[in-house]
Symmetry: C2
Subunit: 150 residues, 2 copies
């Protein structure tokens, strides 16, 4: 993939910060074309909409609307995608995922890589700090968001 | 799992038929407790809501609302769950999935089984007929729904 990850990740990070400002889980994502055109952006809306299905990647995918296929797209997310969001990427054959960080949580990105998805882990300090602060402040909300109660 | 799959699958099938009557992708699902209490039910809403993320299992999960964990739940779906919906089951550690049929489409249920999810495939002729009829009538919509354009 020839796209510079930085400006794409900046959009996902803006979404994460918006989620934080709303009192939600601070994870953001966006779907772009491989040419850098923004198709959809979104953030986790568990708290805001009382919706456990609205992880950031799903929100971005949803906001991009219906498409016949995703062969020309790139998903960018501030955090390693959980199994749910990794399954989204695999099912819709999104060819590349840019990940802000995978230190505070590691989902299915290695599984995606093995199955042919291009993976770029930026290891962005701002994304790490955002999650570390959130997990320390709201552990029960974080564990709820990833389906573990402790 | 000691629950009889038949009445649970009947609820998912009702949802699929509702989706069909709305002109949508005829796949339905429901989330129950292991004691048979209905938590949420839903059907694919790609067409109805122009929402590519609203697969049946996600719709049922969403309609069940926020929960601290899913250790005591069973997902029932008319069709083998795609990777997206299989990822949902794995991430939220839903311990059992009842599947109407896996003839017309086989998603991630073998992967779930290998990773510890209990899987019951009913092989229900009504579920098979519903999908066969739909795929023959609306192939382009079906391929869009599973992220392949041919």
């Amino acid at each position: 993939m020839s796209l510079d990850p930085a400006p794409l990740l900046a959009v996902a990070r803006e979404e994460a910060l918006l989620g934080k400002s709303e009192g939600g889980v601070p994870i953001g994502a966006a779907l772009f074309t491989v040419d850098g055109e923004l198709l959809g952006r979104g953030h986790n809306r568990r708290v805001q909409d009382d919706d456990p299905s609205m992880h950031a990647e799903t929100a971005a995918f949803r906001n991009a609307g219906r498409r016949p296929h995703y062969r020309d797209t790139v998903m960018v997310t501030t955090l390693s995608p959980c199994w749910y969001c990794s399954g989204l990427v695999r099912q819709f054959a999104i060819p590349h995922v840019i990940i802000g960080e995978a230190r505070t949580f590691s989902g299915g990105h290695d599984w995606l890589a093995v199955n042919g998805t291009g993976i770029t882990v930026v290891d962005d300090p701002e994304c790490v700090a955002l999650m570390e602060e959130f997990i320390a402040a709201r552990p029960e909300l974080w564990f709820e968001d990833i389906g573990t109660s402790e």
